[in-house]
């Protein structure tokens, strides 16, 4: 089973009034008292999901027609979404009758499978709301086991699950138990909904922890100190050169030659300060990708052609081992090119000092499971002491270099819902790998 961090790097609009954005992977229990509570919460919840291009599943205590009508009042073009399956509505009674034979693992696997299907169709994720009122009366304990298992299973997935409980039918102990088996509880405060305040603190904490883990970025403080330093260096040089330039100009007679030299250095250093700024922006940019169906083998071949000069200058030979009929992926061609160029260039530069073995850079492409393609760039340099360090912004082992390349590459790959990491080779050198999701079969 695949598991990765991409699911939690971004937030999605939750849609429920009073609640802003949430990370994927959260499992919420939702208490309602009257029918309006359900409509008021779930209609905007699904509308937000549909507008974010998520696959939505609503298991409703209403009839499917009533639910569709309520949703249709807010969501334009709902009929088409019902037809193409982006929005699916089931009535709870029928749903629970068909799933009652399932054990908790099978039920959990069902949702995970639905998410994989949704992602392969190009949706941003899976958003569901399931009414429990037909279940808990029969077998509360099994329901709680199932809910607990769901919380664990979807934590790192692009799934939002909201389970509705009829507060009138719940005893105090079962409310507590429901809250405990979910990650968060949702309850109505006046007109707005609130994630239960006791739990909210924890929700924020886990969310923060997971975001940190997912992005693998340095803490904000570390990062801002590093950025300040990187910008301050060339700025200090610009200021000192400007002062020198003024002095050369006001000397008697003016020393124009030296003044020109210092002015040229000012241009150079100011540009390098602005490169740092651009690098930082690129690192955090959430730009829309110009995605097209892409054959990574072609991109690898292009990069190889592009880099022929650099490769021969570095006395490096490149070998490629590309899987035939590699499935296509949906990606921004230029950005992925940029990532591969970066990895290849890093490999060439890292092997500058390699003398004991032939300088060989291998690029491989492979299918990874059913959902991903994987590209590996393997060098024969001295390797990496701490592979994760290489992705920290401003980390560099080179004399000239800002140390932003790999950090930017990672943010590009993660924006494509893939992963980029490095490992130390058994013999020599390091291997940089990235994965990208396969384009769904219908579009191949």
């Amino acid at each position: 089973m695949m598991s990765d961090d991409r699911s939690i790097t971004d937030l999605t609009k939750y849609g429920i009034p009073g609640i802003d954005k949430v990370p994927f992977g959260i499992h919420v229990c939702h208490f309602y008292r009257v029918r309006e509570d359900l409509v008021d919460a779930l209609v905007p919840y699904f509308a937000a999901g549909l507008s974010n291009n998520e696959n939505c599943v609503w298991v409703t205590p209403f009839s499917t027609d009533e639910a569709a009508a309520a949703l249709g009042r807010l969501q334009v073009g709902l009929d088409a979404m019902l037809d193409n399956g982006q929005m699916q509505i089931f009535d709870a009674k029928t749903w629970h009758a068909t799933t009652s034979g399932m054990d908790e693992n099978a039920a959990v696997q069902f949702w995970l499978h639905e998410e994989e299907k949704a992602l392969s169709k190009g949706y941003q994720g899976l958003r569901s709301a399931v009414d429990t009122s037909f279940l808990y009366a029969d077998d509360w304990d099994t329901l709680m086991d199932y809910e607990g298992a769901v919380s664990d299973a979807i934590r790192d997935r692009r799934i939002l699950m909201l389970c509705s409980y009829d507060a009138q039918k719940c005893q105090a102990t079962s409310v507590l138990e429901a809250v405990r088996t979910h990650q968060h509880a949702l309850d109505r405060r006046d007109l707005n909904w609130e994630i239960d305040s006791l739990i909210r603190e924890e929700a924020l904490r886990t969310m923060r922890a997971r975001l940190e883990h997912a992005t693998q970025l340095a803490t904000v403080a570390e990062l801002s100190a590093a950025i300040a330093h990187e910008i301050n260096q060339p700025l200090a040089a610009v200021v000192a050169n400007a002062s020198a330039c003024l002095r050369w100009l006001s000397a008697a007679p003016p020393n124009l030659e030296r003044a020109r030299l210092t002015a040229e250095r000012m241009v150079r250093d100011a540009n390098s300060a602005s490169e740092v700024v651009n690098g930082v922006r690129a690192l955090f940019k959430q730009s829309t990708l110009a995605t097209t169906p892409l054959n990574l083998n072609e991109v690898i071949e292009e990069v190889r052609q592009l880099m022929l000069d650099e490769v021969s200058e570095g006395n490096v030979s490149i070998e490629t081992d590309l899987e035939r009929d590699l499935p296509r992926t949906l990606a921004d061609r230029v950005q992925i090119q940029q990532v591969i160029v970066n990895l290849v260039r890093n490999g060439i530069e890292a092997m500058e000092a390699t003398t004991h073995v032939p300088k060989l850079l291998s690029i491989r492409s492979r299918r990874e499971g059913i959902h991903y393609v994987r590209v590996e760039v393997c060098d024969r340099a001295s390797g990496l002491q701490d592979p994760e360090n290489a992705f920290k912004p401003f980390f560099t082992t080179k004399k000239a270099g800002m140390g932003m390349g790999l950090a930017i590459c990672r943010s590009i790959i993660e924006a494509h819902r893939g992963r980029l990491w490095a490992t130390q080779n058994e013999g020599w050198g390091a291997t940089f790998c990235f994965t990208l999701p396969i384009l769904s079969s219908g579009l191949q």
Binding site: N232, Q233, V238, A240, A244, R247, D269
Partner: protein, 210 residues
């Protein structure tokens, strides 16, 4: 450049900063030499002229503050620290350990040049004092053992008679030794000799009333 009557030593790992500092100093008619690392600085044979050290706190091979501590015992030129992000604890540490000042990048030329001139002046003054002391030590070395015994007695203010009695010699002999001491030490007066003895840390060991 190094034949000038002064030298500014620069240690910074960023070539852009090294270049710019050297250029600014050159425009202000100051000679400088720049190093990429603390190791290069230590290995460099420093010319015998008034100098000061512009030291980047964040060096690749050693922290600037550690370098300061390392060279702290021996003679070193006055240090002006340069840092990308000055924080109070490290500034305090540096100043306590004898740094002249702490500059935060980017700094103004006035600020830098004022400090560099002050540092060079401080080093020049220290060198003059050191040269004077060296000369005095040489003169003291030229004294005979007996003359070295006479010197502390004389600067203690003992009468010739008392000093002679203390050494068990005649007053005339003592007067000859005393004249030789004055001549060899190039002292114009007894007061001058007392000041020299002070510089050489020779204690006035006897009181005339003892």
């Amino acid at each position: 450049m190094t034949s000038a009557d002064h030298l500014v030593l620069i240690v910074d790992d960023d070539y852009r900063v090294r270049e710019a500092l050297q250029e600014l100093l050159a425009a202000a008619t100051l000679s400088s030499v720049a190093f990429e690392s603390a190791g290069e600085y230590i290995a460099y044979p420093k010319p015998d002229v008034p100098a000061c050290l512009l030291l980047d706190v964040e060096l690749p091979d050693i922290n600037g503050l550690d370098l300061q501590r390392q060279i702290g015992d021996g003679y070193h030129p006055p240090i002006i620290f340069i840092t990308g992000h000055g924080n109070i604890p490290s500034s305090v540490r540096a100043i306590k350990a004898g740094a002249l000042d702490f500059l935060t990048k980017p700094f103004s030329d006035e600020e830098l040049l004022t400090l560099v001139h002050a540092a060079l002046a401080q080093d020049r003054e220290r060198r003059v004092k050191q040269a004077d002391l060296d000369r005095l030590k040489q003169r003291f070395q030229s004294l005979t053992p007996r003359e070295r015994e006479v010197l502390p007695l004389v600067v203690s203010g003992l009468l010739n008679k008392q000093a002679a009695a203390h050494l068990g010699i005649s007053e005339v002999t003592l007067q000859i030794h005393r004249a030789n001491v004055m001549r060899k030490m190039e002292a114009d007066s007894l007061a001058d000799l007392v000041r020299m003895a002070g510089s050489l840390d020779i204690p006035a060991s006897h009181s005339r009333h003892a």
